[in-house]
Symmetry: C2
Subunit: 458 residues, 2 copies
């Protein structure tokens, strides 16, 4: 294993604000790609662990959507990490990469003055071998905005390309950026030595703000005093369009390593382990080759089919020719029109205190498995239209009910009548699992009156 030198001024910015639809039904608006578990970790968790090889935890900044802040914290907790709350930058709305990066760079400048930061998208796969090459580019970042270009191993039509220009101390100047090409153009790019635009950057605060001032003065002004009050009023702009394609101080460093934007099921298939027939994913295959299967907790059989992506999530199923994954976007658009929830949420929802999963919904009842993290509490609350039975199946529950306190262990239960003030918490050291049976005429999440909440939601 290589040992990385901690560059004293190296900060890390993790961009975790995306909300793609190309991996539906795995990804949802409220559970985007970066939080999906691919193997042991989510892409976001893997990105954090990678960043930790270059920086200490308190040198890492995460930009995410307000709605995903608990997901970020819960997933960091899972890998035993803690993020400085001041370094969790919560966008009230997505405004693309330039405002997100500018916000993180402004925060770094305010805290440390002149510094160099590496920017990682949180929804890509990157081989760790790249980290040494990234560190080696620090001298170049002294006076350049540094991009990283991955050496192509195929003429991919789903990536942007960078044409390198004159050689520099390390890497090259950038001759030009190229949009996603068609197949033939991509082949030409590969032969000519163009690189994939990886979306990773190495930026020095001084240079970044000088160039922002020059090319996007309005945005530079907005960030001059720190965080702009009206984030939504900022221009929706990528760093590529807003800065890199116009600045004359842009360099590209080639990376010769495995990298993928994990942008569609084809990419997930390529990344996965294959059996001798080229199938990836646990299933029984009969006369079937080149398929990608993703599902949990069910028996799956594929017969006589080739090059399919078969993705099942309990509430949704996608069967897609692997070379037509670009149409998943159209499918999601269709569903948005008729049953929006299936594009917004998973059956499992994340909350600051843990998560819950809807197990079944009937005409007047709903059954959930509620998981409360150790030491966490739901709000003190009341429902107008439903009663709730709680049965502890794992761990210890502390229940406050109309002013009384009771402790329930595995196999014990309690009943919360409509209109009762109640609160559920986990005073223990292992996750608390409760089966909740709701009964009532109206069972939506918005039937809740919050009196106190540790997470500011009252």
């Amino acid at each position: 294993m290589p040992v990385y030198h901690q560059y004293s001024l190296m900060k890390c910015i993790i961009l975790a604000g995306g909300s793609g639809t190309r991996l539906w039904p795995l990804s949802r608006v409220q559970f985007p790609k970066q939080f999906l578990k691919i193997g042991d970790h989510s892409l976001f968790q893997a990105t954090w662990l990678r960043a930790r090889k270059l920086a200490s935890a308190d040198e890492i900044y995460v930009v995410t959507n307000e709605a995903h802040q608990y997901l970020v914290n819960n997933q960091l907790e899972e890998v035993g990490a803690t993020l400085d709350p001041a370094h969790l930058l919560r966008e009230p709305c997505g405004r693309n990469t330039l405002p997100a990066i500018a916000w993180a760079m402004a925060t770094i400048r305010a805290e440390c003055g002149d510094a160099i930061a590496v920017v990682f998208p949180s929804d890509h796969h990157l081989d760790e071998a790249a980290l040494q090459e990234i560190e080696a580019a620090v001298p170049l970042a002294e006076d350049h905005l540094v991009t990283f270009g991955v050496k192509p191993d195929c003429p991919h039509t789903g990536y942007g390309y960078i044409r390198p220009g004159a050689p520099l101390v390390c890497g090259s100047a950038v001759d030009s950026f190229k949009e996603k090409p068609d197949k033939e153009t991509a082949e030409g790019y590969c032969q000519a030595g163009y690189l994939w635009n990886s979306g990773m950057f190495l930026l020095r605060t001084t240079i970044f703000f000088e160039e922002l001032e020059r090319y996007q003065p309005a945005m530079a002004a907005a960030f001059a005093a720190g965080v702009p009050e009206e984030y939504a009023a900022l221009q929706n702009l990528s760093i590529d369009y807003g800065l890199l394609e116009v600045s004359e101080r842009v360099a590209v460093v080639p990376l010769d390593c495995a990298w993928s934007d994990m942008g569609d099921f084809k990419a997930l298939y390529d990344h996965a382990a294959h059996d001798p027939k080229g199938n990836a994913g646990k299933a029984e295959y009969i006369d079937a080759t080149g398929n990608y299967v993703h599902a949990k907790g069910k028996a799956i059989g594929l017969i006589g089919v080739n090059n399919l992506a078969v993705v099942d999530t309990g509430d949704a199923l996608l069967v897609c020719a692997k070379d037509q994954t670009d149409k998943v976007r159209d499918l999601v658009a269709r569903f948005k029109g008729q049953q929006n929830a299936i594009t917004e949420h998973h059956l499992e929802e994340h909350r600051p205190w843990g998560s819950y999963k809807v197990l079944e919904t009937g005409p007047f009842y709903k059954i959930k498995r509620v998981t409360v993290s150790p030491g966490k509490w739901l709000s003190l609350q009341l429902h107008c239209h439903r009663s709730e039975h709680w049965i502890v199946v794992s761990g210890m529950a502390e229940v406050h009910l109309n002013g009384d306190t009771q402790f329930l262990c595995q196999g014990q239960s309690t009943f919360v009548t409509t209109g009762s003030r109640h609160r559920l918490g986990n005073p223990g050291r292992i996750p608390l699992e409760v089966i909740e049976v709701q009964i009532g005429e109206y069972l939506e999440e918005d039937d809740i009156v919050r009196f106190e909440d540790k997470y500011g939601r009252a």
Copy 2:
């Protein structure tokens, strides 16, 4: 609507003992094809309703596997029908069609002497127009074993064929029976006017037993005094091999109507309604044609795929090229080797008192939705390794617990500790639905001590 004349001696025999695997995961060993809901009714229910146009309820005999007797009764109850308990012939094991039909014919002979009976498989689709043609064949059945041959509308390779011989009063003598042919042979059969062997027969007790005596004397002897004591000792034999292919008194009556053995997903697809792109089943289709989708309660998208069968059942998923459905059998064989339950049971299980569905299984808990039919009772029982919480979500429960009786309505609950004698019943007029949360170290169905049972299982 045609009006059918009730032939005073017309009995109906419904064969409901089959257990095919070609419709997995819809069908399971414990829930075979005939009980699957195709549209409003199961094939078995549709067969019963069809039989009722030819005979009164007390003239119908059902032969089924012992294990499926409650399914038969529950499905009849659903369509408001009652079967004479003496007419439910419960095979302790499957011995193919000849013993099954002989048993029903022997029962009819014992009850009514000489009579004519129509035999319906319960897992086929048949257009009702055929009923008039069947009735019209009664005179022919006076001195023939009558088979029905469907006029082919395609050179099907999955059916046996009948070659008609010399014309009779109606229909013809049978020249010969043909095994399932290959494509080319099937084309020749169709051109030559051969008919599909439908598996339906019109049999007169006298003729049937005369011929049985002649060609299968051992079996005839076994049924001479009624039901043989050792059913398992009977020869495993189809009526085709055992009687029809050897007897010289066999006739065939052509049927010019829609018929299908619903034997694979291709057949279910053909039977279903299609959209303009030839897709059958509720899903979003993008650049997809000729697909069959069967699933419940989930959002489904198909992109860029053609002629697939996509069948989802919560615990299992099949994606199969529609022209390779014969390999489903191989798939089931593979699963049998590794996780037998997925080929045996559905998540929803049927019991004499109703049904239950497993909603979730965890390390030390299991959650079920239990449905008890009006007026029905579970056994008085006890569990050694689990406690049970019951929460009524619909209807009224009567609970006997350690000698006490309580009535629970919607939203009420009770707790059955390990080792308690308990009994659950539905004293009401609508189905009772209870959510049961089991907690314990061992949660299998065989942890049950039964003290009393209305269905003889104690």
